[in-house]
């Protein structure tokens, strides 16, 4: 296999990468760029731990080849906080005890962040539906739903 060169836009930065064309975005993020906030739990698109945002929408980086995401804006969990200032979703997860072991949290937070961007006033049902591609083994989801609900413009009805 021949290596190829590709340019990725991640968290506002440009990276020029020389790599094999069969590598997933997840592998490039974690192994080459040391953006290890993105996690691998199932490796087959079923758990959402590897979620990143592609032009603002959640995708599973374990299912994407890095070559497929050229020219797109990629956001990983490392790109969500602005310097010392956390994103409101991150704040809310901390505040509402929505994090236990934290392995699902980066993916879960990015999914919630994207939901709120596209639907600022989600109902509880919409929240549950939106995060149902992200598996959490610890929390039973109750506090995660509360954390997102607290940011919904609909309020905590």
């Amino acid at each position: 296999m021949k290596k190829i060169m590709l340019t990725l836009k991640i968290n506002g930065d440009k990276y020029e990468i020389i790599t094999y064309p069969n590598r997933t975005l997840l592998e490039i993020l974690r192994d080459d760029l040391l953006l290890t906030g993105t996690k691998e739990s199932c490796g087959e698109g079923a758990c959402g731990a590897c979620t990143v945002l592609l032009d603002g929408l959640p995708v599973r980086s374990c299912l994407l080849l890095a070559t497929e995401v050229k020219n797109k804006e990629i956001t990983t969990i490392e790109g969500l906080a602005k310097g010392e200032k956390l994103d409101p979703v991150q704040e809310s997860f901390i505040e509402h005890h929505a994090i236990q072991c934290g392995f699902c949290s980066p993916g879960m937070i990015l999914t919630a962040h994207s939901l709120l961007n596209h639907n600022p006033a989600p109902t509880e049902e919409e929240i549950r539906f939106a995060i149902s591609g992200n598996v959490c083994r610890c929390t039973g989801y109750a506090k995660i739903v509360e954390a997102v609900k607290a940011l919904s413009k609909r309020g905590r009805e």
Binding site: A46, I94, E95, R137, G140, K143
Partner: protein, 762 residues
């Protein structure tokens, strides 16, 4: 309780900012200079002799830096107890399950490592295998371990009172058999290890663990290096649920690869490897015979339970005992006999799981419902009449120092509207109740106690040093909360060094639900030790006796005249200038009976205290599809005292997801000839956010006399009793008692069909 600044408050956890931002590092996130990638070769056979392993070709592959087999790891056998040492980290003579480790490689990258595995040639001679309890017990069944005739790994016998006489005196007796297959831990984080071993002969290692010291000792044994050369480091851990307690072959393999290559090695399990080659939960067949009097009080109980333990002992003696012990704690039992057997099969190794023994606990509870049906007593009333009370002894002679069993039943019943709903719900609606009790620690030999140190900096801030580990449940925060509270500090004044075997003293680990009780007590005592030293200096400065003084907001002041105060930093400076030590030291040893032994002597104080929990579940079953819609779950647990209520609620909710929603509706391992058919996330059904019902949390506080601030185990009683409540509710909804768990749609439809045809008695 007293007037606390931090204790009892739902303060934000100190570890979660790192986890919310991706800054928390888990084992597989580590990257070290010159690091290699490790991979394990696994057995394709369930039972086979190893005739020869040829690694020569693999060793010659460009990029391969180390290949190891049993020749490298010595033939030593590992086991939790002296009498259960039956597992080699890499086997020499035979493999006993599909997926068992046979050899391993370390190479410059993953592709090379995988290629190298393919070049290892193993010659096997296949042996007949057994895949279930029944065939393992048949006479003439192939023996999995030569020294265990009949494939019986462990037999625990408990016999209290006179069971036969008890049945004679009973008004109503019934016997039922309940079964459940294996379930999977499915921690968020697949197992991962990073190790480095240098020319000074020291090992440094990171892995998910439920107690770094529990890992360090066996590593030192097998590597044949002194314990102080084994440095298990702190790392973020993505869930344990009972499955990260023991040493794992992965730890040993990674350490040997690092030693042989003299380079750091990272070994990350795939999801499938995590499901097959870490631990699984036992499958179980429990036959329960119960006799009650007219009022529904249990007079006599006789239980025989067989558990499929897989190929090796693991925590066998504990695993056989715990389902019974939970139930003898939860309910009064005068005459009781228990025969628990753990059976070897050619399947992966089984450990202790958060809802260990669902066939057992659900069986005991469902049978209480059935007996109630016969006597015309409703399930909640049946629980009340048999509930454990404070001040009693369990049949195996554990004193119950605090107990809110009755209160949890009453409060859960009231919140769930039991009286309004029981017997009055529309067709295919049902309500069920489950009760359980969990230990707060076991007798653990020399590892039974915990120690903690506290040191001050010159500003009055502290560093706490303890072996306590956090698996995700919030233990790091608990340590800081306790230390800050005792010393009148803010959270930001406390630094934490924990779960590192080089620096921290001994600790039992986050095992047996004991960290808050044992580790938390040690931290509290260390803080009090330091506080006493501070008070001594302050009393001189303020000209008041130490018992007139209070510590708060980084100051010590006279309680009656709060304007007379001295800051902690001033006291520290005085101490430093006088060459006086003001570090704190604390240790806690739980009051358990050290002579109690799981098999030889299952009698005496098991745990210093116990938690008690009740769950009530309301469901609606679709009789066309067998699908269960869970409407509401109410969980009440006696936690002693809630150090951080939100953390405890999180434990309840997670327990309901794992024990009830997953454990009773969808989670089980599927097999074909010893092969796991659903090791992956697509096929093993863990609950998702859309599946989860509305949950009511009720925290009951009984203020345990010896817990830190009265606290004890928090959350496990809920995980266990959730499965029982789900089971009772579904059986109530369909009017049939199903005895094979989990209650999947096919079983529910079958039961409904049989009932309609009049084939099955409820």
């Amino acid at each position: 309780m007293g007037d606390f600044s931090l204790i009892g408050k739902s303060m934000k956890r100190i570890d979660t900012p790192l986890k919310a931002t991706g800054q928390a590092r888990f084992s597989s996130d580590l990257m070290l200079p010159r690091m290699l990638i490790g991979k394990v070769l696994r057995s394709p056979h369930a039972h086979a002799k190893i005739l020869e392993i040829d690694i020569s070709k693999a060793e010659k592959l460009q990029g391969v830096k180390a290949v190891i087999t049993a020749k490298d790891t010595c033939a030593d056998k590992w086991g939790v107890f002296r009498y259960t040492q039956d597992q080699q980290f890499l086997p020499t003579d035979k493999v006993r399950y599909v997926g068992e480790e046979v050899a391993a490689v370390a190479a410059v990258d993953e592709d090379t490592a995988i290629q190298a595995l393919k070049l290892i040639k193993v010659e096997y001679e296949e042996l007949p295998a057994v895949f279930d309890i029944k065939s393992a017990l048949e006479s003439g069944a192939p023996l999995i371990h030569q020294d265990h005739p009949g494939n019986i790994n462990i037999h625990v016998n408990i016999d209290v009172g006179d069971v036969v006489k008890g049945f004679g005196e009973s008004y109503c007796v019934r016997e039922d058999t309940f079964t459940a297959p294996e379930d999977s831990y499915f921690q968020g984080e697949p197992y991962a290890v990073v190790a480095q071993y240098d020319h000074t002969g020291s090992l440094e290692i990171w892995m998910p663990n439920a107690g770094p010291h529990l890992k360090a000792k066996p590593l030192s044994n097998v590597l044949k290096i002194p314990l102080n050369k084994v440095r298990v480091r702190k790392i973020a851990i993505g869930g344990a649920f009972g499955g990260r307690s023991e040493i794992s072959p992965a730890d040993v393999i990674c350490a040997f690869l690092a030693r042989k290559s003299q380079r750091p090695v990272k070994l990350v399990y795939t999801r499938e490897e995590n499901s097959i080659a870490t631990r699984q939960a036992h499958s179980m067949i429990a036959t329960i015979k119960t006799g009650v009097n007219k009022e529904g009080r249990v007079i006599s109980r006789d239980i025989t339970c067989h558990m499929d333990g897989g190929a090796y002992s693991s925590t066998g003696p504990i695993a056989v005992s715990v389902p019974f012990l939970c139930m003898e704690q939860a309910y009064q039992m005068e005459n009781v006999r228990y025969n628990g057997y753990r059976v070897f099969t050619n399947k992966p190794i089984r450990g202790m799981f958060r809802t260990h023994g669902r066939a057992f606990a659900c069986g005991v509870d469902l049978q209480l419902d059935m007996i109630g049906q016969e006597l015309g007593i409703n399930p909640l009333e049946m629980r009340l009449r048999n509930a454990r009370k404070v001040g009693e002894f369990t049949p195996t002679k554990s004193y119950v120092a605090s107990c809110g069993m009755t209160e949890t039943i009453l409060k859960a019943g009231e919140k769930a509207g039991w009286n309004e709903k029981w017997g009055k719900l529309p067709p295919y609606h049902g309500i069920g109740i489950g009760c359980n009790s969990v230990q707060t620690g076991f007798p653990m030999g020399i590892r039974g106690g915990s120690q903690a140190f506290i040191k001050f900096n010159e500003e009055g801030g502290i560093t706490v040093i303890t072996g306590i580990v956090d698996n995700g449940q919030g233990n790091d925060n608990m340590i800081v909360q306790i230390a800050a509270e005792e010393l009148g500090l803010g959270v930001c004044d406390v630094q934490l060094i924990n779960a590192d075997t080089e620096v921290t003293p001994s600790d039992p680990g986050s095992y047996s639900m004991c960290e808050t009780f044992i580790g938390g007590n040690a931290v509290r005592l260390a803080a009090q030790d330091a506080k006493n030293k501070l008070l001594k200096i302050a009393s001189e400065a303020l000209k008041a006796s130490p018992d007139e003084l209070t510590v708060k907001d980084r100051k010590i002041y006279i309680e009656k005249s709060p304007n007379k105060s001295i800051s902690l930093s001033k006291i520290i400076r005085i101490a430093l200038s006088r060459n006086e030590s003001i570090s704190g030291e604390g240790s806690y040893w739980p009051k358990v009976d050290s002579k109690r032994e799981w098999v030889e002597n299952p009698s005496g104080q098991l745990s210093e205290t116990f938690s008690f929990g009740t769950v009530i579940t309301e469901v609606k079953v679709d009789p066309e599809t067998g699908k269960v819609d869970v409407l509401e779950v109410t969980a009440a647990q006696d936690v002693g005292y809630a150090l951080n209520p939100k953390v405890i609620e999180g434990q309840f909710e997670g327990g309901i997801a794992m024990g009830g929603q997953g454990g009773m509706l969808s989670e089980y391992i599927l097999w074909y000839n010893g092969r796991v058919l659903n090791p992956d996330q697509l096929d093993y059904m863990v609950p998702l956010a859309i599946d989860m019902p509305r949950i009511n949390n009720i925290i009951v506080e009984t203020i345990d006399p010896n817990g830190p601030y009265g606290a004890k185990e928090a959350g496990m009683s809920i995980a266990m009793s959730a499965a029982q409540a789900y089971c009772g509710a579904i059986c109530n909804a369909i009017g049939v008692n199903i005895k094979e768990f989990p209650l999947t749609p096919d079983k529910i439809l079958n039961a409904i069909e049989k009932k309609v045809k009049g084939e099955q008695n409820p």
